[in-house]
């Protein structure tokens, strides 16, 4: 039962072992999509942790005592469980495995005590029938073993955030049926980052790729903290069809002093500058197209452009999941069984409104 699996060894068949997020990163790497290197701490490692320290019993106890109808009670239960978990020790074996993998990753990237992103990946997350997206925590810019171990525990405990508990209660999922894996990846030193849809989320138009971007980390875009620049790329001609440059008042970056993520205000005169180069937009859209082609369906993708790397290898995919809104709509035919001549007749009969 391995506790550690490198991302490039993973694929979509490993969801149970490493959760949806990590499995899909592995799947992307397999398809030749550029993804920051890293490894996954499997659900076995989590199970080992909660059983070895006798945590599971205590957790169940707290959950049983909780009043499912009272938000305050759930909040309290969550705080108790999370404190309990974050205070519990990780076994030597698990710690050694993490340490070895972390050192190997640091060597690979030629950075001592490599800054990493530590992400939760729940094992039911991103399945189309239950969206746990965004319910578990992600920690950025984590450096050194001690910090890494602490945040691994924080990821694990995020399985019991008040929100996650509440969601399971609402959906009638058992608290024991879910498990969690943690992904540890090179921290992208991102110049730009954001979100990309390989269809038009506004209209469902499959011939477009829509990119939301800001400077710094993608958090400012994902959290809605800041109105991003938006680029629309034609999926077929690969040309930028439209660009909406917004007033971006802040971005997230790393404070070199504290090595932590901070929110930085953007000076007035720069707020309305286009944050991203056109060629990066097109490059990114090409990768989006490849991701979609691999999965055979429209995708929702988080991405970043790494300032340490050279174009075109600087565009990295952080995660991707199937787009859910339009994909779940049952759309009938838009034209139906018609010949070119039928369509010609339709066109000929229909005047144009002056206003179309």
């Amino acid at each position: 039962m391995s506790r550690i699996v490198w991302l490039d060894q993973l694929g979509k068949e490993h969801v149970v072992l490493v959760g949806g997020k990590n499995a899909s990163l592995g799947e992307l790497m397999r398809a030749g999509i550029p993804v920051p290197p890293g490894f996954a701490l499997t659900t076995h490692a989590y199970q080992e942790f909660v059983t070895a320290s006798g945590l599971q019993g205590k957790i169940n106890q707290i959950l049983n005592d909780m009043d499912q109808k009272d938000p305050a009670s759930m909040e309290k239960a969550s705080l108790e469980i999370r404190a309990l978990m974050e205070g519990a020790p990780i076994s030597m074996e698990v710690e050694d495995d993490i340490g070895e993998a972390y050192r190997r990753l640091s060597r690979m990237c030629q950075v001592p005590a490599l800054p990493v992103a530590v992400r939760s990946s729940a094992t039911a997350e991103d399945l189309s029938d239950a969206s746990f997206a965004g319910q578990q925590d992600t920690f950025l810019w984590i450096r050194g073993m001690d910090d890494l171990l602490l945040h691994v525990k924080r990821c694990w405990s995020s399985l019991f955030s008040a929100r996650a508990i509440g969601y399971r209660v609402r959906m009638g999922f058992s608290h024991e049926g879910v498990s969690i894996s943690v992904g540890i990846q090179k921290m992208v030193n991102s110049w730009n980052a954001g979100v990309m849809f390989t269809l038009d989320p506004a209209t469902g138009d499959l011939s477009r790729i829509v990119i939301d971007a800001n400077w710094g980390f993608g958090e400012s875009v994902v959290s809605g903290e800041c109105t991003p620049d938006q680029f629309v790329v034609d999926k077929v001609s690969m040309q930028i069809i439209s660009r909406t440059i917004s007033r971006k008042h802040c971005y997230f970056t790393t404070d070199p002093e504290t090595q932590s993520v901070i929110k930085v205000p953007i000076p007035e005169e720069r707020q309305e500058n286009q944050c991203m180069l056109d060629e990066d937009v097109v490059n990114l859209a090409q990768i989006g197209k490849a991701v979609e082609a691999h999965y055979g369906r429209p995708m929702d993708i988080e991405w970043a452009i790494d300032k340490d790397l050279m174009a075109p290898g600087n565009v990295l995919i952080l995660q991707s999941r199937p787009e859910t809104v339009w994909s779940q709509r049952k759309t009938g035919p838009l034209l139906g069984k018609k010949s070119g001549l039928d369509l010609l007749m339709e066109r000929a009969m229909k005047p144009f409104r002056v206003g179309d």
């Binding site: 011939s207 477009r208 034609d234 077929v236 439209s242 070119g340 001549l341 009969m349 005047p351 144009f352």
Partner: protein, 614 residues
């Protein structure tokens, strides 16, 4: 959404310096009290695409011809159900047009039956029908070319028209007859011109609709790219030049002549002196007809000229082609790559359609549109370029004759008379000639008229008519009005705005988003082909229209803005091939933008912004 704000035709007033303009054009081209009720109800707008400048009366002939022809295909022949014709009126020397209000509803149904029967037949048999058309049209042009205009009024008719038996008609009749035939050929040629054009446009609109239903965000320039063929007759002149340039680059003596600064006549003289030169000239002679019958402009105006009578134009291109070949550059268009790219795009769009019925419908719509759209691309060379070159050639011969016998001050003055007046000038001249020695014609009368009209045209150039007149309709069903003139509420609003600002105050103009991309740069406004040599690398070309005779300039420039032409105009197609942004069919670009202005061309939105005046 009825808009008000345009003057009624019946209320139009003209500045005093245009006084007398009405007599230059046929009477039914004028707004008139007895038709005011109908005229006020229609929506008239200035046809800036075909007639941006004040109209020489004779040049109106093509418009007279198309008004009848375009309209009858909509109303009486192919019967596009809700569409009627496109009517024309002159407004102080400027040509205005309107898509006539729709017919009564019961007639729409009746027309639908004819449409279905006739149009479906055309689409199903288009390939052979097009071959027929080409045969017939070329025969018409050839017969016009054979028409001989006497060079002089002989002192005495020669023996050969008297013996063995008198011919029965002589020079006086020959001139009158030649002109009548010329006019009939023009009218007939334009009847042919629209044989399949309305249907091509309809096919395009149908495919554009289909694309937009499936992909709401698809851009107009992408649709244009999917439809446009790479092998288009309009490009043949340029392709033949490339071949001649390649041949020349293997012949040192020919290369030397093509590279010198001599005028065309001296070049031809020099070439005929060497073996190599004669060999090259043989090739030139082979392709000159028809491929040098390419207008240096749009083909609509008598003053534009064509390669065949302005040989300095093809020679200047040959020179630059040979230089480029020397530098190891490729001069030909990448036809195969363009075709491949188009097929790749069509295939990708097809694959993006999730529903099988939709996919099949898209395929068939695409096939249907592509089948007939060739016509829209190919007729242009044969009609507006080749045929018009012949028409003007004959007209200039006639003008020279009339000038020679003192009827005109300048040959160009002939075009100041409309097509109905020219027979009078001819008749006046041949009558005096027939009457014998020392008999005067009314030459002074015609000369006076010509100089008065020249003054009116000059005054009209500095007068701007309102952009539109009459009542804005709620719907338009006429394919040309939609596709060619792009009449949309946006455009109408712009016209309303344009009526209130002077050219200097304009900061933004709109046209078709013909080729994607955005660039900023210095504008170079070129109104006539001969100014083309002044273009500096990296400038933005602003011109009335481009055609293949402008092709070599596209490697020098950053973007193109034209007054005339839609998504499938020459400028649009070439810019898409070269990856240059283009905004076409702006209508007022050459009037508003001045050389040296800093402008931004946004080919995604079809907007040109004036950033800084020179």
């Amino acid at each position: 959404m009825a808009r008000t704000g345009f003057p009624r035709p019946s209320e139009m007033e003209y500045p005093p310096e245009l006084q007398g303009w009405e007599e230059m054009y046929p009477p039914y081209y004028l707004f008139s009290p007895e038709r005011a009720q109908w005229e006020d109800r229609q929506f008239w707008y200035h046809d800036k695409i075909h007639a941006p400048d004040p109209m020489y009366p004779w040049d109106l002939i093509f418009h007279e011809a198309w008004q009848i022809s375009l309209s009858q295909y909509n109303t009486r022949v192919f019967c596009i159900p809700p569409a009627q014709g496109v009517a024309q009126r002159m407004v102080g020397c400027y040509m205005f047009i309107c898509a006539v209000e729709p017919p009564p509803p019961e007639l729409i149904q009746k027309k639908a039956e004819f449409f279905q029967k006739r149009v479906f037949y055309v689409f199903e048999h288009f390939d052979e029908l097009y071959q027929e058309w080409l045969k017939k049209f070329r025969a018409l042009g050839d017969s016009l070319e054979e028409l001989s205009i006497p060079k002089e009024l002989p002192g005495f008719e020669p023996d050969e028209v008297v013996f063995p038996a008198p011919r029965g008609y002589f020079t006086s009749f020959e001139i009158m007859d030649a002109y009548d035939r010329l006019v009939n050929a023009v009218i007939k040629g334009w009847q042919y011109h629209f044989e399949y054009l309305n249907l091509s446009y309809l096919g395009y609109l149908m495919f554009a609709d289909t694309c937009r239903k499936l992909f709401p965000g698809i851009s107009e320039s992408t649709i244009g790219k999917l439809v446009a063929g790479a092998v288009v007759t309009m490009y043949r002149p340029e392709e033949e030049l490339c071949k001649l340039a390649r041949l020349a680059s293997t012949m040192p003596s020919v290369k030397a002549v093509l590279g010198n600064d001599d005028p065309p006549a001296a070049k031809l003289q020099a070439l005929s002196k060497t073996m190599e030169g004669r060999e090259w000239l043989r090739h030139l002679e082979e392709v000159k007809r028809p491929w040098f019958y390419a207008s240096c402009g749009s083909g609509w105006f008598h003053y534009e000229g064509s390669w065949i009578n302005r040989m300095e134009v093809p020679f200047s291109y040959l020179r630059s082609y040979v230089e480029r070949l020397d530098r190891g550059e490729r001069i030909e268009r990448y036809l195969e790559e363009i075709e491949k790219e188009r097929e790749r795009m069509a295939e990708e769009y097809r694959k993006l359609i999730p529903n099988e019925d939709d996919r099949k419908a898209f395929e068939d719509a695409y096939r249907t549109c592509r089948t007939i759209y060739r016509y829209a691309e190919d007729h242009l060379f044969w009609v507006e370029h080749w045929f018009h070159t012949i028409v003007f050639e004959k007209m200039w011969q006639l003008a020279d004759l009339l000038k020679r016998y003192g009827m005109l001050e300048e040959a160009d003055d002939l075009f100041l008379f409309n097509r109905f007046e020219v027979p009078m000038i001819i008749e006046d001249m041949v009558t005096a000639y027939a009457l014998g020695e020392g008999v005067p014609a009314r030459a002074a009368f015609w000369k006076q008229k010509a100089s008065k009209r020249r003054a009116i045209l000059k005054a009209a150039r500095s007068w701007s008519p309102p952009p539109a007149l009459g009542t804005v309709p709620e719907e338009i069903a006429e394919p040309f009005t939609v596709m060619l003139w792009g009449v949309t509420s946006e455009k109408v609003d712009e016209w309303l705005k344009a009526g209130t600002v002077s050219p200097e105050e304009v900061t933004e103009v709109k046209g078709f988003a013909s080729s994607a991309g955005t660039v900023e740069g210095k504008a170079r406004v070129i109104k006539l082909l001969e100014e083309i040599t002044s273009i500096e690398p990296g400038e933005i070309l602003v011109c009335p229209t481009t055609n293949p005779s402008w092709a070599p300039v596209f490697t020098k420039i950053k973007a193109v803005v034209t007054d005339i032409g839609g998504l499938t105009s020459h400028a649009a197609i070439v810019c898409r091939e070269y990856g240059l942004p283009a905004v076409t069919g702006v209508g007022i670009a050459t009037g508003v933008i001045k050389t040296g202005d800093l402008i931004r061309v946004n080919g995604d939105k079809g907007v040109v912004t004036l950033l800084e005046r020179a």
